[in-house]
């Protein structure tokens, strides 16, 4: 599974690094920093949760 973050949509809600700190971190402004662009196994579920909880729909998941 591949992950992509649309930086121009992220406004720093921080749900992704709250819910999936293995995959996302915050930059200095509190915006999303993608740590792991390709995920497999149990982390796929975490990636989906993060994407589904982003109010800006800034996280794109593709298989």
């Amino acid at each position: 599974m591949k992950l992509r973050v649309l930086a121009d949509r992220c406004t720093g809600h921080g749900r992704c690094y709250d819910l999936a700190p293995e995959l996302f971190d915050e930059d200095e402004d509190g915006h999303c920093r993608l740590l792991v662009p390709v995920v497999s196994g149990d982390l796929e579920a975490k990636a989906r949760v993060a994407a589904q909880n982003c109010p800006e729909e800034a996280i794109v998941v593709s298989d």
Binding site: T11, H13, G14, E26, G30, Q52, N53, P55, E56
Partner: protein, 409 residues
């Protein structure tokens, strides 16, 4: 007689196509009105004549993400006692982006985590004062002082200033409760706002001078020192940020704590779930923010004509984006009408969205999570005192007095 199978929405709160967002009944129990608006009237009229009311999730998030159409530059329309727009709330991109570059790092989750021990200690100290008595006024004794003191710490201001700050924010947000007339009229309310605004500017002008002489680790010193794009903020900029921080920082978490505890006092099974499984608290905090949405709506000024669900909204009109209603939209939330603490997908808009996403959201989440944890460790079982009827204030749903009782172990 009305058909019992099809209940009418509460009349005081308005019918489906004309809604009163400032009625007491709506503030107490907005959810049925929200559900009705979302399903039957996605663009309603405000009975107060202050513009249209937009309710569906997809419309609200679209408006939030398009500030060039739905502008926040409405200082004159809102008339909150300011002499200039509040920064960054009443400034749109691109100018707003520069201010957020200065402010966002100061309110990041990492930075907020540093003050978690202080918030936890303070929450415990507040409870120490009344735990053994088996009763308190949750508003006066906990929900007001906890976030307000955290705010004063961040600003580097003495905690004894709390009463002054509470008067300043109430003088702007709910002047009707401070005007000493039985039926406060608009002119009296507005005069109090203007006077309060002057007091806020004067107070912070002095703070800026103090910090310039003796910088510290506080917000104002930081704002004086930080450069963005090679330029520092002006003193007026800093005053306009401070004005916003008072309004946004002193009221919202208080209201949210009150809404949460009132809900849990009325739903003992839900409360018992949280007590039994404190790991649920972070997602429960999100779910209660969705369900209660203490800041019910955010205003915007329409810059170009739009037509939404067949309703024309003209340039120059004000609209209310009813984030509380968007948060109960079935199109976005499965089982939107149920409070589910383990909801897996929750893109609620209680903090708004788009460029103006609440600057203090990470501070608010931290305060709410710590407060809910500590409170339920210390006072796991409680009820609203017999005979007490919580009164919710409109707009931002504060409960001015919330008497609780519990049996001591």
């Amino acid at each position: 007689m009305t058909d019992p199978e099809s209940p009418e929405p509460a009349q005081e709160a308005g019918s489906a196509d004309a809604v009163n967002l400032f009625s007491g009944e709506f503030a107490r129990c907005p959810q049925p009105v929200y559900r009705d608006l979302v399903s039957r009237c996605p663009v309603a009229h405000s009975v107060l004549g202050d513009g249209k009311v937009i309710s569906r999730y997809e419309d609200v998030i679209w408006a939030l993400r398009n500030p060039q159409i739905f502008s926040s530059e409405m200082e004159l329309q809102l008339a909150l006692g300011t002499e200039r727009p509040m920064i960054p709330q009443q400034v749109d991109p691109p100018a707003q982006t520069r201010y957020r570059k200065v402010l966002d790092p100061r309110f990041s989750k990492k930075r907020m985590r540093e003050i978690e021990p202080d918030i936890r200690r303070h929450a415990n100290a507040l409870i120490d004062a009344f735990a053994d008595t088996g009763q308190c006024d949750f508003a006066r004794d906990f929900a007001v002082p906890l976030p307000c003191t955290a705010f004063l710490s961040l600003m580097g201001l003495p905690h004894e200033e709390l009463p002054r700050f509470l008067r300043m924010k109430d003088g702007i947000i709910r002047p009707q409760e401070l005007v000493e007339e039985e039926v406060p009229d608009f002119a009296a309310m507005q005069a109090l706002r203007v006077q309060t605004g002057k007091d806020i500017y004067a107070y912070f002008r002095d703070v800026i001078e103090d910090r310039r002489r003796a910088p510290g680790d506080d917000m104002i010193s930081y704002l004086l020192e930080t450069e963005v794009d090679g330029a520092r903020l002006t003193d007026e900029d800093i005053l306009d940020v401070s004005f916003l921080l008072i309004l946004a920082g002193l009221d919202t978490v208080t209201a949210t704590l009150e809404c949460n505890i009132a809900y849990l006092a009325g739903h003992p099974a839900q409360r018992e779930r949280l007590v039994a499984d404190p790991a649920l608290i972070p997602s429960a905090v999100e779910e209660l923010m969705r369900w209660e949405t203490p800041v019910t709506a955010v205003p915007r000024l329409v810059k170009e004509k739009v037509t939404l669900h067949g309703v024309d909204i003209e340039a120059g009109e004000m609209v209310s984006l009813l984030i509380g209603a968007a948060n109960l939209d079935d199109e976005e939330f499965g089982n939107a009408d149920a409070v589910e603490f383990d909801r897996a997908r929750n893109r609620h808009l209680a903090f708004g969205g788009g460029a103006h996403r609440c600057l203090g959201s990470h501070l608010a989440r931290l305060e709410l999570q710590v407060a809910m944890e500590v409170w339920h460790e210390r006072v796991p079982s409680y009820a609203i005192a017999p005979g007490a009827v919580p009164v919710f204030s409109p707009g931002i749903r504060e409960i001015r007095s919330l008497p609780l009782v519990w049996a001591n172990a």
